[in-house]
């Protein structure tokens, strides 16, 4: 870049280094798929925040006069077995999906990161026991552990977040521990130890910021999984409860029963789940490619 002389009008204004705008611009140009994913996520956020303004109807009010109505001018995506507007429920459902998705992924990845880094930093016995404990939790399929936890905790939104978060912790810890092992050998960690800092400070201030890349990778990978898990649990009747709007819940019961006569009830919530998870995965994949030089495909 230094060799080719820049156009005259750009000489004066040096590009703001590492500015958010510059990074965003570069990400969009280099990874169009990731940018599409990010755009969908942003739209979802806007919809979720502005739900009461956008939604044409109240998502929980029944209208037994207009049950199972086909998509029309009045109800763009039709109505469900209680006469509730499907579009409005989809819009309000995005709140549930984002809340549970982000809540559990952020908590799960963070707790996993702390455990993973601590495990790598202390090594020896602590590492061995922590790893065995993680092994135990890794042996449960994601959904089965979440299912048992929801049964214990009950199915409010915060409990749902905890139930989905816990199975993610060992998965994050495993990956982040591997990166932290390399960082432990870095001279600056030795220096911090020589300076007499306490363990907690070294872990939080010196090591944790340096596992940011795998942390973000795990976090974005969890987002899609958390949304899927929430919808699966709600579909089984163990997650979000009626009459609250949630995409998985919308696919439960009547949606399957009347799938033939009222397919809009079964099709649209699934599309919403798929689209949002698709966006999370696209964005997460591109972020991983951008952050992890080993996986870079060039």
């Amino acid at each position: 870049m230094a060799i080719s002389s820049p156009p005259i009008d750009q000489v004066g204004a040096l590009p703001a280094q590492d500015g958010w705008l510059a990074i965003t611009h570069q990400f969009c140009r280099r990874r169009p798929l990731g940018a599409i994913g990010a755009a969908v996520i942003v739209v979802m956020f806007v919809v979720a925040v502005a739900a009461p303004l956008i939604a044409p109807y109240d998502p929980v009010v029944n209208d037994f006069g207009g049950m199972l109505a086909a998509p029309s001018r009045a109800h763009w995506l039709g109505t469900d077995a209680f006469g509730r507007d499907v579009l409005s429920r989809l819009i309000f459902g995005s709140r549930t999906a984002l809340l549970v998705g982000f809540g559990s992924s952020v908590l799960g990845a963070t707790l996993g990161a702390v455990l993973g880094v601590a495990s790598a930093y202390f090594g020896g016995r602590v590492d061995l026991y922590l790893q065995r404990l993680m092994d135990i939790f890794l042996s449960f399929p994601l959904i089965i552990l979440a299912l048992a936890l929801v049964a214990i905790l009950g199915n409010s939104i915060p409990n749902l977040i905890v139930a989905i978060m816990i199975p993610m912790v060992p998965r994050a810890a495993l990956v982040i521990r591997a990166s932290a092992l390399a960082i432990r050998e870095m001279p600056y960690v030795d220096a911090a130890r020589a300076a007499g800092f306490r363990h907690g400070r070294i872990i939080l201030r010196h090591m944790l910021p340096n596992v940011m890349a795998p942390y973000l990778i795990m976090l974005t990978a969890f987002l899609g999984q958390a949304v899927l898990l929430e919808s699966s649990l709600s579909f089984l009747g163990l997650g979000v409860q009626e009459p609250m709007a949630a995409w998985g819940l919308m696919l439960r019961g009547a949606a399957v029963e009347f799938a033939e006569t009222a397919p809009w009830m079964a099709v649209f919530p699934g599309l919403a789940i798929s689209l949002s998870v698709f966006a999370f995965n696209l964005f997460g994949d591109s972020l991983r490619d951008a952050l992890d030089p080993r996986l870079r495909t060039q």
């Binding site: 798929l33 065995r132 404990l133 092994d135 135990i136 939790f137 042996s139 449960f140 399929p141 994601l142 959904i143 089965i144 299912l147 048992a148 936890l149 049964a151 214990i152 899609g224 899927l228 919808s231 699966s232 579909f235 089984l236 998985g248 696919l251 949606a255 399957v256 799938a259 033939e260 397919p263 079964a266 099709v267 919530p269 699934g270 789940i273 798929s274 689209l275 998870v277 698709f278 995965n281 696209l282 994949d285 996986l295 495909t297």
Partner: protein, 317 residues
């Protein structure tokens, strides 16, 4: 080699024991128990005395550690006891349903491998072209669609387009293979597509890595046909991580069928699991979790053993 395997095998035991302990405690923390649930229909008409007697009959009155010890001693002798809800032997409850879930899992694996390997190789060969992008989008879409929804859509499509509904009553394979496959191929497709996504991505990245190796360049330099390079040199070496992913996913699949079975009305392990949680059927739940987690742990062990066998460097670590 033997020493490595023995060490690895012994590491498996504490994990299994830990799984057993965690399960045992977790499910007893779930509010309510099987006795309470069974008599809850009578709305408190049952005396506390009867409840206590019933609890004593199935051993729920003993201290937790004693219950655990009794159960563990049974497991060691491969005796999982009887279901607390139905009273039938656990093995009887699980046998048929496990066969059903296993069949769906195996069929889904076949679907996944058939999809994943050609697509992954193609994407790697045409890296950064529209072919690569399409394969990538196809596989990310597979990860995004909930398989239970895919199941609903599949059934709906068949109903609308072909005016045909797959049989909803289970027929064992040996009774009528066609009837059996006509029912089970749909859940296998729905689950297999999702499952293929992981394997496709793994195939692609493993192939990309292998294609950059020196021995591939050597093979090209000595004028070997592209087809031969791919099948003999590249694919063979790229298969190891792919097989690992497939094996691990397979181990998880049986437990992961929970939701899909609901849609296709399959009376498999997944449905049994949900029922067992609802009934607080401790013995059945414990057996199911041990089955699923045990399968996962054993598959992991076998993969490690296979790695050590294929790659001598691992043994000496």
């Amino acid at each position: 080699m033997t020493k490595y395997l023995v060490k690895r095998f012994l590491l498996m035991l504490p994990t299994l024991l830990g799984v057993a302990l965690v399960t045992f405690v977790l499910i007893r923390v779930i509010p309510g128990d099987v006795v309470e649930l069974r008599y809850s229909g009578d709305r408190g008409a049952v005396s506390q005395d009867l409840l206590d007697k019933e609890r004593a009959r199935i051993g729920l009155d003993k201290p937790m550690w004693q219950q655990f010890a009794t159960w563990l001693w049974g497991v060691v002798r491969l005796d999982f006891g009887t279901s607390m809800w139905t009273g039938a032997p656990i093995w009887e409850e699980i046998k048929l349903r496990f066969a059903l879930s296993l069949q769906v899992a195996i069929m889904a694996t076949i679907v996944a491998v058939i999809l994943a390997i050609p697509l992954g190789v193609l994407a790697a060969l045409k890296q950064d072209t529209w072919v690569d992008y399409s394969v990538r989008i196809f596989s990310i879409a597979g990860l995004a669609m909930p398989s239970f929804w895919l199941g609903i859509v599949l059934i709906l499509l068949m109903l609308v387009v072909f005016k045909w509904l797959p049989p909803m009553v289970y027929t064992p394979f040996w009774v009528s293979p066609w009837q059996n496959l006509a029912q089970l191929i749909w859940p296998a497709l729905a689950v297999g597509y999702r499952y293929s996504a992981v394997a496709t991505r793994m195939t692609r990245s493993a192939m990309l890595e292998v294609l950059r190796e020196d021995y591939i360049r050597t093979a090209r330099a000595k004028g070997l046909m592209q087809k031969l390079i791919l099948s003999r040199h590249a694919l063979k070496n790229a298969m190891l991580p792919v097989m690992t992913v497939v094996a691990i996913e397979f181990a998880f699949l049986i437990g992961g069928l929970v939701v899909t079975e609901q849609v296709f009305n399959l009376n498999g392990i997944g449905l049994l699991f949900v029922q067992a949680v609802a009934h607080r059927d401790y013995t059945l739940l414990q057996a199911l979790v041990m089955l699923v987690a045990g399968l996962f742990i054993v598959v992991n062990f076998l993969m490690d053993a296979a790695y050590a066998w294929i790659d001598p460097r691992i043994r000496y670590r």
